[in-house]
Symmetry: C2
Subunit: 147 residues, 2 copies
């Protein structure tokens, strides 16, 4: 699988979140070409403020790999991570992030601030991911339907 | 119960974390004088990078109160929150934070940065909590024993 296919899978997870009444955000974590963690936003579904797609995927990857250290992993997420998720990515020692849509209200890859350039003990590399337009369109449609 | 008693309970939870081989950090969440959430660091115990005391307590409080919105809640934690936990506190709309020991390596109440003064959609009030010396001593002893 290539970058686009991983982000395509994250988009599928985003649509599952939407089907459950949540803001459509999906995330996959990959190590050595294999998906080792998946997550989707479940905040409304679970009534849990911490159930964002990235933290769900990190928890899944920790469980599947048997360690809280996700060295060598790449995370694909359809929306720019919020501070909680950016912090989780740092805590899990994830190497690389590819994100789709930007988030002007909470994004921590540069939109509000760049948490990965601050003085913490781990610095993942950040890339603007593939399928950016599709990631943006999914969120735009969701919020338009709410109005 | 008063501020000191809530922080005392957080310290008890920190000691439970230590007994399980984790860095001793504990956290309680209070609403209207009642403890509605408790958590301790379980990173090593569970092999989960997201299992910090604050996120565990937030998840517990969301489950117990039946909502991801923790308006009107105060969080007591023995160690200054990391970016992940500070972000979780913002996401959960917690009103106030009292923390014990400072964290020069990851603290987001001012030690590395102050995440609560950034342009996010919620701004909890931050207080340096009671029992600061005890909170510091617990961590200091733990790390000295590791050397």
């Amino acid at each position: 699988m290539n970058h686009e296919q991983y982000m395509r899978r994250a988009l599928e997870l985003a649509m599952e979140a939407q089907a459950e009444g949540d803001v459509p955000v999906g995330c996959v974590i990959v190590r050595n070409g294999e998906i080792v963690g998946e997550g989707r936003n479940r905040r409304e579904e679970r009534g849990d403020a911490t159930a964002h797609a990235e933290l769900e995927a990190i928890r899944d990857a920790c469980a599947r790999t048997g360690s809280w250290r996700l060295h060598g992993c790449t995370l694909y997420v359809t929306l720019e991570p919020c501070p909680m998720c950016a912090g989780g990515i740092i805590n899990a020692r994830i190497d690389r992030i590819y994100y789709g849509a930007g988030d002007e209200k909470a994004g921590c890859c540069g939109s509000v601030l760049n948490l990965f350039e601050e003085r913490f003990n781990h610095h993942p590399r950040i890339y603007r991911g593939p399928l950016r337009e599709e990631c943006e369109a999914v969120l735009q449609k969701f919020f338009e339907a709410l109005r």
